[in-house]
Every structure is written in structure tokens, then in C-alpha cells.
Symmetry: C2
Subunit: 394 residues, 2 copies
Amino acid sequence: MASTRVESVDFFYVAMPHIEDIGDGSQDACVVRVAAGGQVGWGECEAAPLPSIAAFVCPMSHSACHPVSASVLGEPLETPDDIRRISAKVRARSADSLQASHTLSGIDMALWDLLGRLRDEPAWKLLGYAKAYPKLPYASVLFGDSPEETLGKATAIRTKGFRAAKFGWGPFGTKDAKYDSDHLVAAREGLGADARLLVDAGTVWVDDVERAKKSLPALEAVKATWLEEPFISSALGSYGALAKVSGKVRLAGGEGAHDWHVARNMIDYGGIGFVQIDAGRIGGLTDAKRVADYAQAKGVTFVNHSFQSQLALCGSMQPFAGIEKDEICEYPIEARDVAYAITVERLDRGADGFVRLPEKPGLGMTVDPARFKPYLLDVEIKIGGRMLYRTPRV
Amino acid sequence: MASTRVESVDFFYVAMPHIEDIGDGSQDACVVRVAAGGQVGWGECEAAPLPSIAAFVCPMSHSACHPVSASVLGEPLETPDDIRRISAKVRARSADSLQASHTLSGIDMALWDLLGRLRDEPAWKLLGYAKAYPKLPYASVLFGDSPEETLGKATAIRTKGFRAAKFGWGPFGTKDAKYDSDHLVAAREGLGADARLLVDAGTVWVDDVERAKKSLPALEAVKATWLEEPFISSALGSYGALAKVSGKVRLAGGEGAHDWHVARNMIDYGGIGFVQIDAGRIGGLTDAKRVADYAQAKGVTFVNHSFQSQLALCGSMQPFAGIEKDEICEYPIEARDVAYAITVERLDRGADGFVRLPEKPGLGMTVDPARFKPYLLDVEIKIGGRMLYRTPRV
């Protein structure tokens, strides 16, 4: 008989006072706290917080549309397999609830943090790695509104000592190939010839292979390492067609994957060279680690996707911590204040420019609700006068 | 300048007083009402109602995580292309919100209903069909808890004059091949030798091809037309592997598809012979019609998925109404009272056993809120004391 069981799961919706309509995912967060055996663990969903909370507390619709809570609360939590069992249970019993993947992700991350604390081991060790290798961070920023602004951003990144940078979203891909080229040339000029330049199209071409092809000459000219998300994740045929002609510019994608099979399909049918997984969306560390294993077997490079808090960043890096050759990691450098208010620690770069995961138990980060309280939103969800959810007191 | 714009979108969460933990999706419904130009249209999401409502009203998180409302309210609505534009806008601006597909589905269905009323044409005609062909309904039921109970159900279905029936969920696939075989033999015995027998495994084997293979001899022995959802929708490799060895028993799947590319992938890589689309989940009639077009081009048979209300059934049949050769349609016969309380009309079978879509404008069904009022749940969602959603008065 298991004596340690999941006792409670709490959600905290935190946000900047003003949300801008730009591709910056660090403006709010859905933070999750799980308690068991006298400890708590913390995780974060890459998601709209309100529907994610709703997917946890909603009434059952039928046997494949349970609230996520029904498959988590009271479950045994003593071994990594217990977490995998909870994950599989949520998948089966909430199969008809799309938002459940977002909700599960934050819970799963918190469960690995919690289990690590209960067993006094880092999460990456519980996942099966003997060592957490240093990762080379790429500065992840949005394109400027003009090539001049992009040049300024790239120069600043170089000055800060980054050896890799990713530019994305903004106006890229919305105008003509010449305009995109101007931004790319500016980014390369600012970063210098030796830095790795990564480009994120932010699904702007949806599934239009011909339009995407027009971006390739400029990407090749600036020696871009990858073209990320030319299409939406489900447009596998478009990915596959573009991959055949993209040459040295490899395709990258996967952040939209909401279970490990979706990511696997992008490898098997989409021909991507880099699989980018957001642990806050795919189902947490459990599904992300399955992708890392599969990518290794297929010769594809695993990269974390993370554009949120320091807690989310730390969680996103656990699943490939022990893969030495998969060296680079996403590293947001324009995140908002709320993204630094969740944990006491930051994942700063060392003197050698590399980022190292904590060796401490769980995720190795200290979450202090008093720090994020200024950003906390008071949410109430009632059905028939009964309170299903109310923001916990901190 | 368009003079007709979407003025309001309202959600109604209706449910049976007691929800059973079985695979019966007719126990609740998320009904959507859209108003424009002095008319209203109605649709239904195949979804947990609470998170679906939350995805409509939630605050913006960033530029790819808007509430669905932001891409619908105030939009022009005068032509079918206006609906397609709204759909594309929701997809782009709510790309990082998985639940948005569920929410969009009910809205999109309501928009086609509404546009049909504004233009005095049936929805299937607006979708591009000259005629709505009669469809042969297959009685869709759950397996019995024992082979005897399955036999009883099958016999009753035959007595009611159905020439096709689908059995699914329940204990099927959870025990051994012998047990499954007993249920299948019972189903065939009850239906008679000439009826089409369809089998729904309800994703019970997740992605396990070897386990699924064990079901094939019994399925072949009873001449099953299809094996539905042996795996989850994203397990494309498993579908593809099983399709290669399934012989005369074709694979069916697609109800889990939440955009048209996901369904396309099941055709291109999963090798399915029947693509089953739930208009309440894939994004409404707009995405479902794209799948129908693609399936036609690929020689795959389109079938509606519907296990909810008469309104949802009517909506699910529009996208393939004009394809004469895709003859059979899903037809729930064990639905709960709430599923008949949304519309005044029912889609009853004619004397010849076929089901015909209404020739009246829009979906051709009359929704009367007074009918579903006894099942209506009072929901309140507040953030910071501000009411984001409250169940509308009927």
C-alpha cells in the first residue's frame, strides 16, 4: 500500500497589469502547487490560465471527459512510475478535453518537483539521467519592428556575450521576401559571423509551402541554423515538403505538440531536424522525456521551448538535461517582471556563458508565493451557486 | 462596408442531473447562440462546457493566445467567406489555446445556421452542395456489459429496422481476444447476416499495434466493416502499421481531430478508410467540409461523428450532405433526454429507413430555450470581482 498520495492541487493565475498584443508568452502564468507527504512541488502550464483551471475543476461530461482533478487527487506518489501512471490516467479519462494537456503539463511538472523533494534527488536524475550537462543558451527575442531595431537587438545580445540568438514573430513573414531578408541581414550583422542565428516564423505561413520556400535563399545567405515553425504543428505534409528542399537550413518545430505522439509525427513525417518541446504544453516532463528519447533514436536534436518564467525554463530543461550533444537551450531575455517573481532563484549564465540546472532536489528552485502575490488575480468559478474554484490565499 | 456583423455570442451549459461514468457524450451539451442582422443561429460544441466557455471569455495571454471572443464579436457576416475568415482568425489568434477548437466549433456551426437564415438557404447549400442526399443511419450504441446484453441490444436494433449498427466502448478491448470475440459474435447474431457491423474500440489500445492485431481475426470472422479508433488520433504510426495488415476490415478514425490537418494526417499517414469528423470538435462545419473535400480526393469515405443532441447531429451531417456515395451516417439511439430538449424537431428516419437533412434555412432546426431551461446550469466566472461570464437568462 502506498502511503504517500497527492493531497491537493492549487492553481495561481498571475499576470502583468497590462497585457500587450505581441508574441511574448511571459506576460502571465498559470502556476501549479501540488502537495503530498508533507512537501509541496511547483509547476507551470504554458497556457491561458482560466481555461486550464476550468479543465481541472469542471464537472464530468462522460467517461472520456473527466475533469483533470479526478485522475490526480488521491493518487499514489512514491516513484517515477506513479507520475507516469497519473499522466496516462489523465490522458485516458480526459481524452475529449483538449485543454487537459495544458492543465496536466503544470501538474506533471509539479509532481516531478515534488517527488524529487520527497526522494532528495533532482528531477533530471529521477527522469533517468546520471548528469545534467551545461547548455549553451540562445537569447530568444522578438524581431524589431524595423531592420534597424532588429540590428540594435542583435548588437545588444552580442554585447551581453551570447553565442546564439533566436529572432521571431513580429513582422517576419507578413510582408515580402526582401523585407524578411533585411531583418535577417540586420540580425546577422549585429550578432557577428560566428554566432548561431535561429529564426522563428511563428506559424505565419500556416501550411503554405510555396510562400515558405521564398524565405529560404535569405536564410541560407545569413547561414541560419534553423527555420522554426514555418507552419502550424499539424501541417505535417507542408513540413515534409519544405524539409526536402531546405538544404542546410533545418526545420525546427514542436512547441505546439500537446502529447508525445504529435512531436513524434513531426519527426517521422515532418522531417524536422530540431524538435522543440514546451514541457508546459506537451504534458509536462513525462511526455517531454519520451520525445527526448525518441529524438535521440532518430538523430534529431532536442531543444526546450520556453518563453515564460524561470520556473518554466527550469522545468523545460529537465527532459534533455543528460543529453550532452543536444547543447543549445532556449533562454528568454526579454521576459516581464512577473516571470521573475515566481522563483527566488534565476537560471543565470555562468562565467563561461553556459546555463546549469540546479543539483538540488526536484526542480531545485524556491517558489515563494509572497513574491508573486502582487501579480495574483482573484478568480471565482461557480456552478449552481457552488464554488468550484477560488484563487487560494497566499 | 459590411453592414451585418456578429453582435453577440452566448453559451448555455445544459446537463442531466446525474452524469454517469460511461462513454455516452449525450449527457450534457455546450449550446451556442450567435446573433447578427436581426437573426440568431445555434450550434453546439463537442466538449466539456466549462473550459469551452472559459476559452471564449478568458483574458488575453499574448498575441497567439487571445480569447476566442476577440476574433468573433463585431466581425462581418454576409458570405460563407466571412465565416471562413472568422475561423482562420480564431486559429491564428488563439493558436496557443487548445480548448479554442472546441469553442470555435460550436460558434462556427451557429454561424452557418445564422448565415443560412439571413440568406434563406440551407447550410449544406451554402457549403457548396446542390443537393442533400439521404443517409443510411447506423445505430450507434455502447457494447453491453456481457455478450448476452450485446445480443439483446443488437436484436432490438434489428427489430427497429436499422441496416447498420455500431457497437463501441464498454468492456471491448479491455480483456482478451476471446472476450471481444464473444461480444462481436453476439452483435452479428443479433443484427443478422446482411447488416453492416461497425466496431468502435474507443482508443482502448492507445498506440499498441500488437494488441490491436489480436482483435483482427474476430473482426474478420463477423465481417465487420470497420475498426474505429483502435488508437488515439495522434498515434499515426500505429494506425499506419495496423492499416497495412487489417485486410477487409478498414480502419476508421478522426473524431479526435481538432483541425482539418489532423484529419488529413490520418488519411495521409494513418491509412484510414473512413474519416469520422465531429463538427463540434474539429472547428465546426468549415473545417469538416475541408476534410470532406480532401477525403473525396483521396478515395476515403467521410462519416459524421455524433453522439450528442439532435442539433449536433444535424450540424455534423451538413459537411458531407452532398456526397452521394458516402452513404452512412452515425445516428445515436441511446441519447439522454437533454439531447432531445435543445431542438423542437428530431432527425427521424423516413419510411425507407434513411435520414434526410431539412431543406429549411440554416440547419433547419428550431431551438427553443424554454425546452432546455430545465437542464440549464447557472455558471459564473469572475476575475478580480468582474463578471466575465454568467449564464444568460432564457
